[in-house]
């Protein structure tokens, strides 16, 4: 096969040095083990998948060296969606920064909000009210379901069954409607606040959530029926993209990708935050570490999320404050702002100065986001802005595993494995 005519002699115009460096790094990967450089049949080809590719979940770029249909080695190139979110945080108060977290992992904005709030609450030593915590848990679990639904739809669409995407989106639509009712936004919710949440659940929202958790398990059962014994689906995923638990820990996989390798690490169990210690739930684990194992883990996690939401409704206080009543630590309620002078002043102060953690304090708080460990590390210089804010995002960690996993698989597996790892580039590139 003659692939000579594909080679372009032109120097790339977009970041030429970086472009050349990454092609070089692809060439050099495993260079020490590779002895046979001859390619008499000329079957080797470098394929550049992404950043503009429909199935790389955004702007992920994968460079692959192909031998026919199989991938001999590959390199990832991330950073095409880098927006400098961590740097932006340094010029915002903690509360102002919240909408930016929505745009990191935009499939589960609520988890990101909660992660930021918990980190700030830890560094500034704020205790948010119990009812607010339960509402945060309910919404985080809903966003977990929403994120996993998108993973399910896209992963199976990447395997070739397109209708599934629309079926999962019908369910996601219900969750969007719930968030619309809860937070006033469908997509980027920004509902959590430092020291609580913005507003209590309305009766309509409660009714919608209850309806959803009543109907969703049946839907889930239907999908299990459709997929678990689907020969093509199982063949496409069984043993594909497998990774051992030792490699997984070395690379630093988190979330379902880690649990699929047999390590039951879930921050909700290991280091319970909010009130997860009072909730009874399982951590779904598989030992195979392949794409099918990730599938089962995520599917079971959705069922567990429903269980958690049910228990939250039982255990949460029927009424009570949803935000700390301390003007130095949280926004006052709107009633206060509109009808009292002090309230208005406090509101201004919160917006202008914000929560001021003690000087030199630093804190790390991680939550179990749908994709894995999402942590915020904050260093304070005593002002209302973080001196340094570092985000440990699960997609970035999971993408590190992709290079290892993809080597030796086939071109058709690439998209399925990317789908199974479930990266969100907004989360990875920040």
């Amino acid at each position: 096969m003659d692939t000579e005519h594909f080679i372009s002699k032109k120097r790339p115009s977009f970041f030429p040095d970086h472009q050349e460096a990454i092609y070089k790094s692809l060439e050099d990967k495993h260079a020490t083990v590779e002895v046979d450089k001859s390619d008499p049949l000329s079957t080797r080809m470098t394929l550049n998948m992404g950043p503009q590719h429909p199935a790389t979940h955004g702007v992920l770029r994968v460079l692959m060296e192909l031998d026919g249909e199989s991938i001999t080695k590959c390199r990832l190139d991330t950073g095409y969606l880098h927006r400098g979110i961590e740097k932006m945080a340094e010029n915002k108060t903690y509360q102002e920064f919240m909408p930016y977290t929505d745009r990191m992992d935009y499939l589960s904005p609520y988890s990101n909000n909660v992660a930021l709030c918990l980190a700030v609450e830890r560094i500034a030593k704020i205790e948010s009210p119990e009812r607010a915590n339960y509402i945060r848990m309910i919404c985080s679990e809903l966003s977990r379901i929403s994120s996993h639904l998108l993973w399910l739809g896209t992963m199976i669409m990447d395997a070739g069954a397109i209708s599934f995407f629309i079926w999962t989106f019908r369910e996601r639509e219900k969750i969007y409607d719930i968030f619309d009712e809860v937070a006033g936004h469908r997509f980027t919710v920004s509902h959590s606040r430092i020291g609580g949440i913005n507003n209590d659940l309305t009766p309509v929202a409660v009714e919608k959530i209850r309806k959803f958790i009543r109907e969703f398990p049946d839907e889930l059962k239907g999908w299990h029926k459709l997929l678990d014994r689907n020969r093509i689906f199982v063949d496409r995923n069984d043993g594909v993209g497998a990774i051992g638990h030792e490699d997984a820990i070395d690379i630093g996989l988190t979330g379902p990708a880690l649990r699929a390798t047999g390590i039951a690490y879930d921050i909700r169990k290991f280091e319970p935050y909010l009130h997860y210690d009072q909730i009874d739930f399982e951590v779904p684990t598989r030992t195979e570490g392949d794409n099918l194992a990730r599938y089962y883990c995520r599917m079971e996690e959705m069922a567990e999320s429903i269980r958690i939401i049910e228990q939250c409704f039982d255990k949460m206080p029927k009424s009570g404050p949803v935000r700390v009543d301390d003007a130095k630590k949280a926004y006052p309620s709107k009633d206060e702002v509109y009808y009292s002078m002090e309230g208005l002043i406090h509101d201004f102060l919160m917006t202008d100065t914000g929560v001021c953690p003690p000087e030199g304090a630093e804190a790390y708080h991680a939550v179990e986001a749908p994709k894995g460990e999402l942590g915020f590390y904050i260093q304070s210089d005593g002002t209302g802005h973080p001196w340094r804010l570092k985000i440990k995002s699960p997609s970035f960690s999971n993408l590190q595993g992709l290079e290892t996993v993809l080597d030796g698989e086939m071109v058709a597996d690439t998209v399925v494995i990317i789908g199974g790892m479930d990266p969100v580039m907004g989360d990875s590139d920040k």
């Binding site: 692939t3 209708s163 093509i232």
Partner: protein, 331 residues
């Protein structure tokens, strides 16, 4: 003019005028049926129930800019889209729509069909190679490998059909099914043939030639405007042709179920009209199955496809042929 030639020309015109729009109707049907499978409405704005949507699609395609990528082989790039359409159209030549309505009754009709069917892969492979794109190349190569692997089981399955008819003429094969359709006499052959036809038509689960997800359209990634439209049309024509082939070889062609037992003698005209309606109804059913399958199941991987073709379907097809041959010999 020679009356045979005249009737053949008339038939040819009718069939061409029927086959071309049938592809357009299939596009519409696919969009509607897929919409219903996915809880959507589908195109329902252009004309009554969106029936004119295919026209809108084609006009849109005509008005698009026709791009030939730099470095492409211009001659092959332009030639490639014509091949699948041509092969699809000339396949119709030997398919009988009724006992009396057909273009030609070749005494080697089955061989003709197999020969023509294997030609269409040239279009796809050449398109993939001539586009000067790696994705297209992968798609084209997949197509070549896939066609070769599925030609064989298809041929062997057809051979088992010929056992019953004792003739290579397609008309004789259909007439041999006037009581028992081949689907009842030769169910394994039916399954193998259906799978092979799906593979030949590049439909899910065998659509890895165009694999929207990993190959971004495969062999037609670089095609635009009506060149792409021609590929698009050819795909649906192959769906229709595939349905006709399944109908002809295994679903009794134009025969009603067990027609030999109960259907009274009719005049040529009445019989022809009835036959054509029966044939179209069966074809429509199979087109529906094609669409249904496409929107329900995932696609195979390249190596799985090869394994299925060579290690499962071919041995089973040969075994099926041998067993049927022995049974028929001693019967």
């Amino acid at each position: 003019m020679d009356p045979t030639l005249f009737s053949t020309l008339v038939m040819l015109a009718v069939v061409l005028l029927f086959l071309m729009p049938s592809a357009a109707v299939t596009v519409y049907a696919e969009r509607r049926v897929s919409a219903f499978i996915q809880n959507r409405y589908g195109p329902n704005r252009v004309g009554p129930m969106g029936l004119f949507q295919p026209f809108a699609d084609v006009i849109k395609l005509f008005l698009k800019e026709d791009i030939i990528p730099t470095g492409a082989n211009r001659f092959l790039y332009t030639l490639a889209p014509m091949i699948p359409v041509t092969t699809a159209v000339i396949t119709v030549g030997v398919i009988p729509f009724s006992e009396h309505v057909y273009i030609a009754d070749l005494n080697i009709g089955v061989l003709y069909l197999l020969a023509v069917a294997s030609l269409s892969v040239y279009g796809v492979t050449l398109a993939g190679w001539a586009s000067n794109s790696k994705y297209s190349l992968l798609g084209g190569l997949r197509a070549a490998a896939q066609m070769i692997s599925y030609e064989l089981p298809m041929g062997v399955a057809l051979a088992s059909v010929i056992l019953f008819a004792g003739s290579l003429s397609v008309l004789d094969i259909v007439n041999s099914q006037d009581i028992w359709w081949n689907i009842f006499r030769n169910p394994i052959g039916f399954v193998i043939f259906t799978v092979a036809v799906f593979a030949e038509a590049n439909r899910t689960p065998f659509d890895l030639v165009e694999a929207e997800q990993e190959l971004v359209g495969g062999f037609h990634t670089e095609y635009s405007s009506m060149k792409f439209g021609t590929f698009f049309l050819a795909e649906y024509m192959h769906v229709v042709i595939g349905s006709m082939l399944i109908t002809t070889f295994f679903f009794g062609g134009y025969h009603l179920p067990f027609a030999g037992y109960w259907l009274p003698e009719m005049s040529v005209l009445a019989k022809s009209i009835l036959d054509i309606f029966v044939f179209i109804a069966k074809t429509v059913f199979w087109v529906f199955v094609f669409i249904w399958v496409r929107w329900t199941i995932p696609r195979f991987k390249y190596n799985q496809l090869m394994r299925l073709g060579w290690t499962r379907m071919l041995p089973i097809a040969i075994l099926n042929f041998a067993v049927l041959a022995v049974i028929l010999y001693y019967l």
